[in-house]
Symmetry: C2
C-alpha cells in the first residue's frame, strides 16, 4: 500500500543527488525511505547512470516492484538487469496480479517460474488471464480483483459479506452483479450500498441497462476516451459471452492518458515515451540517427528541386536568399492545419464525416493568410532588392504554397492513418517535405518563366 504524501513537492532529485555527491549513502537511504514509490521513480528517471545504480541499491525490496512499474520501459529494463533473481522475486511479491503481468516481459524464465511457484492456483490462473491479452488492450489493462455478488441477495447480506471479507480492492466504487455462469447482469454502486434500505435486494438497486463495459480486445485509447467522457472510476471487462473477466480502474487509465499524451508530443520528433533520458550515448545516437536519416532524405529531395534551377539562381542570386521564406511559411501554415487534424483524429472530433468541410475551411484560411503574408513578404522583397517583379513572384509562390499546405495538412494525416501508421509519428515529416518541394518549385519555377 503506497503511503500518501504532501502534494507540494520538495526537490527530491536535488537532495538525492547532493547526498550521492557527498558520498553519504546512508542519507540517500533515509531520503528514499520517506518517499512514495512514484516519487522514487521520478528521482531515478532524472538520475544519470552512475548515481542511479547506487540509489537503486538503496531502495527497499518491498517498494522496488512498484517503483519499477512507474518507470519508462528502458529504465526499468536496466534496473531489472542490476537485480539478482532473489531480489526480483521479492519485489514481485508486493504486487497485484495485473502489476506482475506488466513486469513479466522484463523477467527471465527462471524468475517467472519462481514467481508463479509463489502464487496460489487461483492467482496463477488470473495471471494467465491477464497475460493472454496484448498490453495495449482492455484485457491487458484489467485487474482480476473484481468483487461479484448475486442479484437475489439483500443489501444486508452484501454488507455482511464485505465485512467478513475484509479490505476491499483499491478503487472499488462498484460491485459487479453476475449470474451463475459469471455473466454480467448489473452493477451495484458502493455508495448505494451505504444509503439503500438494508432489506432491499441487489436486483432492486443495481444498474442494469446501458452499462459501460469493455470487451477484452478494446484498444486502450478507446478505454481512456470512455473513462474520460463518462467520468468512470472502474468498469468491467467481459468476454464475447458477456462473462466477467476483470475490471479496469481509473488510476491505470490515467497512466494510459499520460502515455498517449507523451507519445503525441514525442513521436513527431522521432522519440519514444519509453526511452531513458540518460540512456547510453551510443543507443540514443542510433535511435535518433535513424530519424535524422529520414529527414536527410527529405532535405535531399528539397535540395534536388533547388538544383533543377541552378542556372536561374546563378542569374538572380536574390532567389537563393528569399527562397527559404517561401518554404518556411508554407511549412508553418501547413503544420498548424496538420496539428489540428492529427489531434482531432486522436480525440475523435475529426473523421471522414466532416473532413471535406474542414478542408474547405482550412483552404479559405490558407488563402486569406496566404494573400496577406504574400503582400508583406513581397513588400520586404521589393524593399530589399528594389525589384517589383521579384515581389510579385514571391507573393504568387506563397499563395500557391499556403494553399498546398492547407490541403496537405488535412490530407496527409488521413492518408497516413489509412496505411495503419500513427498520424502523430509520420505526418509532420511528409508535410514539410511537401511544403519545401512546392515552395522551392513554385518560387524558382515562376522565376525561371518570368524573370529570366
Amino acid at each position: 500500500m503506497p503511503r500518501a504524501r504532501k502534494p507540494k513537492k520538495p526537490n527530491h532529485l536535488k537532495h538525492v543527488l547532493a547526498a550521492f555527491e557527498a558520498g553519504d549513502v546512508a542519507q540517500v537511504h533515509a531520503i528514499l525511505a520517506d518517499l512514495h514509490p512514484a516519487d522514487i521513480a521520478n528521482v531515478l528517471e532524472g538520475l544519470p547512470p552512475e548515481p542511479r545504480t547506487t540509489v537503486w541499491a538503496q531502495v527497499d525490496n518491498q517498494h522496488r516492484g512498484e517503483v519499477l512499474l512507474e518507470l519508462p520501459e528502458a529504465v526499468r529494463t536496466d534496473l531489472v538487469q542490476q537485480m539478482d533473481d532473489k531480489a526480483l522475486v521479492a519485489s514481485a511479491r508486493a504486487l497485484d496480479i495485473d502489476e506482475i503481468a506488466d513486469l513479466i516481459p522484463d523477467l527471465s524464465d527462471e524468475v517467472i517460474a519462481e514467481i508463479l511457484f509463489d502464487l496460489d492456483k487461483q492467482d496463477r490462473q488470473r495471471l494467465d488471464a491477464v497475460l493472454s491479452y496484448p498490453e495495449d488492450t482492455a484485457g491487458g489493462l484489467m485487474n482480476v480483483d473484481a468483487i461479484t455478488v448475486r442479484e437475489n441477495i439483500t443489501v444486508e447480506v452484501v454488507l455482511r459479506y464485505l465485512r467478513r471479507r475484509g479490505e476491499l480492492p483499491e478503487h472499488t466504487n462498484r460491485l459487479f452483479v453476475v449470474d451463475r455462469a459469471d455473466r454480467l447482469v448489473g452493477e451495484l454502486k458502493v455508495a448505494n450500498l451505504l444509503t439503500a434500505d438494508l432489506q432491499a435486494r441487489v436486483s432492486q438497486i443495481m444498474e442494469r441497462g446501458d452499462l459501460v463495459k469493455f470487451s477484452a480486445l478494446t484498444p486502450d485509447k478507446d478505454v481512456a476516451l470512455a473513462f474520460e467522457d463518462y467520468n468512470l472510476i472502474s468498469a468491467p471487462v467481459v468476454d464475447e459471452n458477456n462473462r466477467l473477466l476483470g475490471r479496469i480502474t481509473v488510476d491505470d487509465v490515467v497512466d494510459v492518458i499520460r502515455e498517449q499524451a507523451d507519445r503525441q508530443v514525442l513521436a513527431p520528433a522521432g522519440l519514444s515515451e519509453e526511452e531513458d533520458i540518460f540512456a547510453p550515448v551510443a543507443r540514443s545516437s542510433r535511435r535518433r540517427g535513424v530519424w535524422l536519416g529520414v529527414n536527410l532524405v527529405t532535405a535531399v529531395i528539397a535540395s534536388w528541386v533547388i538544383g533543377l534551377f541552378e542556372q536561374t539562381i546563378q542569374q538572380v542570386v536574390a532567389l537563393a536568399v528569399l527562397m527559404p521564406i517561401v518554404a518556411s511559411m508554407g511549412g508553418n501554415a501547413g503544420t498548424q492545419t496538420l496539428t489540428l487534424v492529427v489531434r482531432g483524429l486522436a480525440v475523435g472530433t475529426i473523421s471522414e464525416s466532416n473532413a471535406r468541410r474542414l478542408l474547405s475551411r482550412e483552404l479559405m484560411i490558407g488563402a486569406v493568410n496566404g494573400l496577406i503574408w504574400a503582400l508583406v513578404v513581397a513588400a520586404v522583397a521589393v524593399w530589399w532588392y528594389g525589384n517589383i517583379m521579384i515581389g510579385v513572384l514571391i507573393a504568387a509562390a506563397m499563395v500557391i504554397n499556403l494553399g498546398f499546405a492547407a490541403l496537405s495538412g488535412v490530407a496527409i494525416p488521413f492518408a497516413v492513418r489509412r496505411f495503419g501508421v500513427d498520424p502523430a509519428l509520420a505526418s509532420g515529416v511528409i508535410l514539410t517535405t511537401v511544403t519545401d518541394v512546392i515552395g522551392f518549385f513554385a518560387f524558382l519555377g515562376l522565376a525561371t518563366l518570368f524573370l529570366i
Copy 2:
C-alpha cells in the same frame, strides 16, 4: 446524472450529419436524446456552424449545462450566445456548484443574478468560495460537496448518518474528518466503513498522517501530477489554517491532464486547445496569422544571413542548393533534444539539478550524429558536384550546427521558462531560428573563407 453508455462508439457525428442533411430534425432529436452529454459535446465540436446551430436547438435543456462544460471555450461561448436567458438559467439548474462556477465567465450579469437567486444561501456561499480562486488552481477545480464527520463517533453512527442523508456525492471514496473549527484531522475511506467493526470510533480507523491535501492556490498541473503519482480518486483542499474548503475528484483531474496534453501538442504550432475547429474563417485567420507573422520574422532573419553571402553564392551556386540540408538537419536534431527537455520539464524529471549532465550527454549525441551524418551529406555533395572541398565544408558546417542544436535544445527551454513563458509555446520557434542562422552562417561563412 449522466447515463452510462457502451464503449464501442458508433459514429454519432455521421448519423447526426446525415439526419441534418436529410432535413430530418426529429431524427436529430431522437439520436441526441439517447446520447451521453459528453457524446453530444463531441458531435457538436465536430459540426460546422450551420448544422451546429440546428443540432444545438435539439438538445434538451436539462443536458445542455453538462454539454456546454464538455466543449472547448470557443464553442461554448458561441452556443451560449444562441440561448435566451431563460434557457441558460434552466441549464444551470441541473449542474453542481463547481460546474456552475466553470460556466459563469460565459454568462451575462442578468443570467448570473438569476442563477444566484435560484440557489439557497449555503450554495450561494459555496459558489462564492469556488469563484474566489483562479480556474487553474486547486481552489478553482474543487467542489464543495465534501462529506465531513467527527473523529469521536462510531462507524455505526457514520453509517446511520449516511443512510439518512441519502445519495452520496459522485466519486465519494473518502469522508473527511474535521474538528469543531472545520480543520482537517484525518480521512476515512468509504471502503473501511464497509469492513470495519461497527463499534470502532472514526479516530481508530481514519488515516491521519501524511495526507495528500492541496492548498487552494496549488497550480492545477501539480494537482494532476499528485493524482497521477498517488493514484487518487478524491483529495481535500484546505486553507492556510488547515480548514477544509472542498475536495477535488479524479474526473476533473482527468480533464486537466487531457487539456495539458492538448496544450503541449497545440501550443508549438501557435494553436489553442480552447479553439473551435469550425471557428469563423476571419477569426482563425487572424489568430493563426499572428503566428505566421512571428515565423516570418525568423525566416527573414535567416534570409538576411544568406544575403550576407550573396557574392559567394553567385560564384558557387552549389552552396544555395546544399545549404537547406545543413539548416534542416540542425533543426531536426535540435528539435529532438528540445522536445525531450520540454517534456521533462513539464513532468518534473528534468530540472536545474540534472541539466548540466543532460547537456553533456546531448552534446555527445549531437557530436556522434553530427559526425556520422556529416560524412553521409559530404558523400552526397561530392557525388553530386564532384568537388571534395564542398564535401569537407558541408561536413564541418553540419558538425558545428548539430553541436549548437544540442546546446540550444537544452538551454532554450530553461531560458524561456525563466521569462515566465510556457516552454512548449515558444521554444520551437527560437530553436529553428538558431539552427537556421548557425547552419547558413557556418556553411556559407566557411565557403567564403576556403572556397573563394
